[in-house]
Amino acid sequence: MSEPLLEARGVVKQFGQVQALQGADFTAFAGEVVALIGDNGAGKSTLVNVLSGVIAPDAGQLRLGGAPVRFAGPADARRHGVETVYQDLSMAPDLDAAANLYLGRELLRGGLLGRLGVLDRTAMRREAVKAFAELGVTLKEVTAPVATLSGGQRQSVAVARAVAFANRVIFMDEPTAALGVVQRARVLETVRRVAERGICVVLISHNMPEVLSVADRIEVLRLGRRVASFAAAGTTIEDLVGAMTGSLDQDRPAPDTGARNAEDLR
């Protein structure tokens, strides 16, 4: 395979007494769906927070598009084309779908009005409708507060927001956890479609059958380290569970060696 689009090497993060990440590695390629799995407390959320710029690692390196990168915050990560769909969707429930889509990067009018910060609502609504349509979503009312939408529609708005602005990586934290069967299928279809555009989708999920059906590759975290990396084809749920629980350690030299390099993987 070619050079990784996003890569983490030996990431360490400590919260007080807790070593959430103990030299974790992560590799993701453009145009693929890679699932990040692990038991509770394995360090998934911490790793995703590091990769999306929410928290700064204590040690280790991030590389984006082959070059070392250091995110000053989630907004900085977004400027690098890295978007996140948070599990809680991270929306302002009192604002409408278009305002949420453009939250923090509002479109302004031209000229003096724009310099005064006057919004171009017409353009934002028009673009929002377009962005939703691309995902096959038709909102009954773009002007209704997001709180009045159904769970699935809210999810769609969050995904549409990430898709509209990401040009490299999208993290999706449990994107289907709160959804019904039909909506779940729809979101997974969207995930595939986004990856086909050459964007890397990192899926954090607990649902093993879902992971195997939608992901190209699966990376497994355990105790703050990557312990395995599978191609989805030919991998079984037993393999994944084995790697998560530690009965099968494929990618770790020995339990008590310190940080290690992703090079071991190749």
Partner: protein, 342 residues
């Protein structure tokens, strides 16, 4: 609503969002209806006496300062905050401006002094507000406590500076005769000023990035932060805006009454918060409008004048406003929980 992510929802107008429903959903409408009913009631109860130009002008002049304060408070409450200190900040700004005026000509002071007084009042308000905003933005002390401390401190400082007595000559005749008693095309300047402030900040809230960020951070601070909005800085700006408008209120007060009225602003905060909440702005943040606050300011004002005109003890006004206030928040809660369930 049936579960349909992405399922094509039927296009075009559906009966669920017909215009009467939509109108009913506008929170300002309800308060406006209450206001209209009050006006109607008093006009019928005291025909020819209530709806006179004199009454209207009087109501508007009385409401002007509260309106200016209410505009700032609308922003603060939308961020899920509160500012109890406004009355004290108004007094402190008035005292600072008044003391400068006394030292530079007193009642006969020239226009240069008047201009300096105005700037001093606005700056004192802005500084005080920004300081409170900074404390709120740290997230360590809730706004209620920050501004409760500010209420005591600002009033104390004003009393220390004056020995607790309203100083004579705090306002220049130049200020009183223009902004205080002057009129533009028959409309008092105080009212024109208040209307201008209301219009500008109403448009800012509804139509600009600043307004959207205010609503967003009140609605979900975590989401606002993740979206790259500098939440702390924005809070400082919102509280500073409240302070500036309290400073402007001080100027209007000096112009209108010619004295600092140190002891006269203890309940400004409650009156203004009442107006904001009556106007449909949610104490939980994220929702509200300046238009609603305008209506909220006028309900108590109309009640007071109306009760006097029909010869009922005006103290009934306090009773009525108290009941309406609790009812307004109760309805807001119902609406929120109905929305969460949908």
């Amino acid at each position: 609503m049936t579960a349909t992510t992405g399922e094509r929802v039927e296009q075009g107008p559906s009966p669920a969002v017909s215009w009467p429903r939509r109108l009913a959903g506008i929170s300002e409408l309800w308060t406006f209806l209450v206001l209209a009913a009050l006006v109607l009631f008093f006009s019928i109860a005291a025909p020819g006496k209530f709806f006179t130009t004199y009454d209207l002008t009087q109501i508007a002049v009385n409401a002007a300062i509260y309106l200016v304060l209410g505009v700032g408070m609308t922003y603060v409450v939308i961020t899920a905050g509160i500012d109890l200190s406004i009355g004290s900040v108004l007094v402190l700004a008035a005292v600072a401006a008044g003391e400068y005026n006394i030292g530079h000509g007193g009642a006969a002071a020239g226009w240069g002094t008047v201009a300096c007084c105005v700037l001093i009042a606005l700056a004192v308000g802005a500084g005080w507000g920004a300081l409170q905003g900074l404390l709120v933005a740290t997230g360590k002390v809730p706004p209620l406590i920050v501004t409760l401390g500010g209420l005591g401190t600002a009033l104390g400082l004003a009393e220390l500076a004056t020995g607790g007595q309203d100083p004579a000559g705090a306002a220049a005749a130049n200020l009183q005769n223009t902004l205080g008693f002057g009129k533009l095309l028959g409309i008092p300047w105080l009212v024109v000023l208040a209307a201008g402030v209301t219009l500008v900040f109403g448009l800012v809230l509804g139509g600009t990035r600043f307004g959207t960020h205010t609503l967003a951070l009140g609605s979900n601070p975590a989401a606002a932060r993740r979206a790259g909005i500098r939440v702390g800085r924005h809070l400082v700006q919102v509280y500073a805006l409240m302070g500036v408008l309290a400073g402007l209120g001080a100027v209007m007060w000096l112009a209108s009454y010619g004295t600092t009225s140190i002891a006269g602003h203890a309940t400004d905060n409650l009156k203004v918060i009442t107006a904001v909440v009556l106007g449909g702005t949610s104490l939980f943040g994220g929702r509200g409008s300046v238009l609603g606050t305008v209506i909220g300011v006028f309900i108590p004002a109309v009640l007071t004048t109306g009760l006097i005109v029909i010869g009922v003890q005006q103290y009934w006004q306090d009773v009525a406003v108290g009941i309406v206030l609790v009812a307004a928040v109760y309805v807001d809660q119902l609406r929120r929980s109905a929305r969460e369930r949908s």
